[in-house]
């Protein structure tokens, strides 16, 4: 097989397996998962074999549109991660004793999602990208649906929100086709060139951001997290969807458009709002899966801001953060899936100390935690540093300050989670099956070793992000003002957490487990000394803000959506359905009036 034809394999094989082979294994989910695994492995192998020759296919289709696929070094790098997510999601599914209520639908949706992800990343043509994009939405809907009857509302919500944002994006793409016909991706339209270019950019940006989970299209994610099977959530909303969204955002901001100050402001606005609108509720949330889902949204704000600063460091940071975040968040979801399975619920009160009785799952969660709070040398650290560096060099100091505050709260949230999971006491419940530990273990290792991996691919990342030369990722290891800021982030984050904890629960014992960690120890000791009591007021204020945010912004988005639909029904139903009243004379009159209208249209312009 030539390298060109190998490019079809990752797109077509999972799809073909899903449609033709899976139905044969409805009765035995494990065999079906095995076949899915084989399909993904085949896709990965094809990429592996094809990558060295950087092939490209371009099939002329109809009038001016071509189906184009290509594989470059950068895409291979990205697809390597995608492949890893897929493989481990399937491995986890295989081991998870079939937790989803509809295993067949679950696997089907996973494979379709994989195929569409490959299509989106491999293609060089916007038309094909849109096809893959929509296919992904359908896969997501089916995947949420596989959670059973209780998941239907969430699935519906996801479909409505996804459909709306995709519609906005298509609208933007239509403007774009007028500006740059042909469906290619590298036109570089200047957003300052006119209102059409600007609005086209804003609409496409909203669509791409929505796929990644950006405000205001994020509200379905926490709902879905509650009802989706763990492997499903780890595979789609936590990882692949972010990869697709941010990848496309990268294409939009760096290839399709040249962004000006106004477009930049729009991006900052949405980015910052996204950070705070989710991280603040996460502080007070009491359900582990919802916390993980909410903290999967706020990094999107970071990535959007990183893309917006238009500095090579910011872009590279956003791209790396996308990968690092996907790695640590799917690890956390895998581990959380194990916890929830054993504990029988995702409430934090049920999960007290569960990591002690499940040491391996707990260990994987801890690996992910290190990356999540961006400790060096994890991937999370490098990515966040690059974004902050981009903001600093770009001169966006206000953005930098707000991002730092967001990072601080992020640390506080994860500190709370870890404290709960390692709290003393609790019942010994036994460990999860091997495949369910293997998946998060590998992924957690990737998350922690991310900094190393990213450093190794420095040349690639630098060139893609548009730096003048290599060495972009090396910069973060040098001591600078940002290093101080980072240290500040950890410190303040833990202090906030600690002060909120004091006097509420058995906080001393909680910290005892954390104190073993070499880096955190000193910070925690200070917190234990009670120096930061005054912050409790601040936390209460945050609590109040949270309620305001929830009641007046987040929930209102849903209310408005439902209202529009209800209003449409109320107006159209009597108008259209009522007109069909079964009276023959009326029907004949419509036809005659229609005839007169046609007559008028034909003669009107002639006269």
């Amino acid at each position: 097989m030539s390298a060109q034809s190998l490019l079809w394999v990752p797109v077509l094989v999972p799809l073909a397996v899903a449609v033709f082979l899976l139905p044969l294994f409805r009765k035995s989910p494990r065999a079906a998962a095995g076949i899915g695994l084989a399909a993904v492995a085949a896709a990965g192998l094809a990429i592996w074999v094809a990558a060295p020759s950087s092939p490209g296919v371009s099939i002329p289709w109809v009038e001016g549109f071509t189906i184009a696929f290509s594989l470059t070094g950068w895409k291979t790098f990205l697809l390597g991660f995608v492949f890893l997510f897929q493989l481990l999601a399937l491995v986890y599914t295989l081991g998870a004793a079939m937790r989803p209520e509809r295993p067949y639908l679950h696997l089907f949706a996973l494979l379709v999602a994989f195929s569409s992800t490959y299509a989106v990343i491999l293609t060089d043509n916007l038309m094909v990208l849109v096809i893959g994009w929509e296919l992904f939405l359908v896969a997501l809907y089916l995947l949420i649906h596989s959670g059973g009857a209780k998941a239907e509302a969430a699935a519906h919500k996801a479909l409505v929100i996804g459909g709306t944002s995709d519609f906005l994006m298509l609208l933007g793409l239509m403007f774009y086709f007028q500006l740059a016909p042909g469906g290619g991706m590298t036109a570089g339209v200047d957003t300052a060139s006119g209102p059409m270019a600007f609005w086209s950019f804003v609409l496409i940006f909203l669509g791409a951001g929505a796929k990644a989970g950006m405000f205001p299209f994020h509200t379905w994610i926490p709902d879905a997290a509650e009802v989706m099977p763990a492997s499903g959530f780890a595979a789609l909303p936590a990882s692949l969807e972010k990869v697709l969204g941010i990848y496309f955002l990268f294409v939009v901001t760096q290839r399709m458009f040249v962004i000006d100050a106004a477009a930049q402001t729009v991006m900052f606005l949405f980015g910052i709002v996204t950070v705070f609108v989710t991280i603040v509720p996460a502080l007070v949330e009491k359900d582990l899966r919802r916390i993980l889902a909410l903290t999967a949204i706020s990094p999107v704000g970071f990535m959007v801001c990183g893309m917006a600063v238009s500095e090579a460091a910011g872009v590279a940071g956003a791209l790396l953060y996308m990968l690092a975040h996907a790695a640590y968040k799917s690890t956390m979801f895998f581990a959380a899936g194990n916890f929830v399975e054993k504990a029988g619920g995702a409430g934090l009160d049920r999960l007290l100390g569960i990591a002690r009785s499940m040491p391996y799952s707990g260990a994987t969660f801890f690996l992910a935690f290190l990356s999540a709070i961006s400790l060096p040398p994890t991937g999370g650290f490098m990515a966040k540093e690059l974004i902050l560096e981009g903001a600093l060099h770009g001169g966006h100091l206000a953005v930098l300050a707000l991002l730092v505050v967001g990072a601080v709260l992020n640390v506080a949230v994860f500190a709370k989670v870890v404290a709960v999971l390692w709290a003393p006491g609790g019942v010994n419940r036994g460990e999860a099956p091997g495949a369910c530990i293997l998946a998060p273990l590998v992924m957690g290792a990737v998350a922690v070793l991310g900094g190393f991996i990213f450093s190794r691919s420095d040349a690639l990342v630098s060139s893609v992000a548009g730096a003048h030369g290599p060495g972009l990722t090396g910069n973060v290891w040098h001591f600078s003002i940002l290093a101080v800021v980072s240290l500040g982030i950890y410190a303040v984050g833990f202090m906030i957490y600690a002060s909120a904890r004091t006097g509420r629960a058995s906080a001393a014992e909680t910290f005892a487990s954390l104190r073993t960690s070499p880096v955190l120890g000193s910070v925690l000791t200070q917190a234990e000394a009670g120096r930061f009591d005054g912050y409790e007021i601040g936390v209460r204020t945050v609590d109040a803000i949270t309620r305001v945010v929830f009641r007046f912004i987040e929930r209102k988005i849903d209310v408005v959506g439902a209202g529009v639909i209800a209003l449409g029904c109320a107006v159209l139903r009597p108008l259209l359905s009522g007109a069909h009243n079964g009276i023959y004379g009326n029907y004949l009159c419509w036809a005659l009036v229609g005839f007169l209208v046609v007559l008028f249209l034909l003669f009107g312009s002639a006269a």
Binding site: H580, N581, G582, Y584, L588, L592
Partner: protein
């Protein structure tokens, strides 16, 4: 010649309008079918006018014969349906035939 053509054409259209008037306003199914027949008479007149205009009456009368056969078969099927309506509803009022709506 053209005046006769126009007269026939106009008379045909007038008959069609009267037929459609019956179809819109009347309720009794048999009257509606009479309306369809009146429309058909109008169409026949228009056929005749067209043939006269092209001075090819022989050609147009073939079409008229075919049309008469169509009309007859249609009338027969319609009347059979009317008998069916009568069996089920016991009424021939088309306003009562409004179960299907929405």
């Amino acid at each position: 010649m053209n005046n006769e053509v126009l007269l026939l054409f106009g008379c045909g259209l007038l008959l069609m309008m009267v037929g459609v008037y019956m179809l819109v306003l009347y309720r009794n199914l048999i009257r509606l079918i009479i309306g369809v027949e009146v429309v058909a008479k109008g169409v026949t007149l228009v056929f005749l006018a067209a043939g006269l205009f092209r001075q090819d009456v022989a050609f147009i009368q073939v079409l008229i014969v075919t049309f008469i056969i169509v009309e007859t078969v249609l009338a027969a099927v319609m009347l059979a349906l009317v008998v069916g309506v009568h069996r089920i509803y016991g009424s021939l009022d088309i306003r009562h035939l409004s179960k299907l709506k929405g």
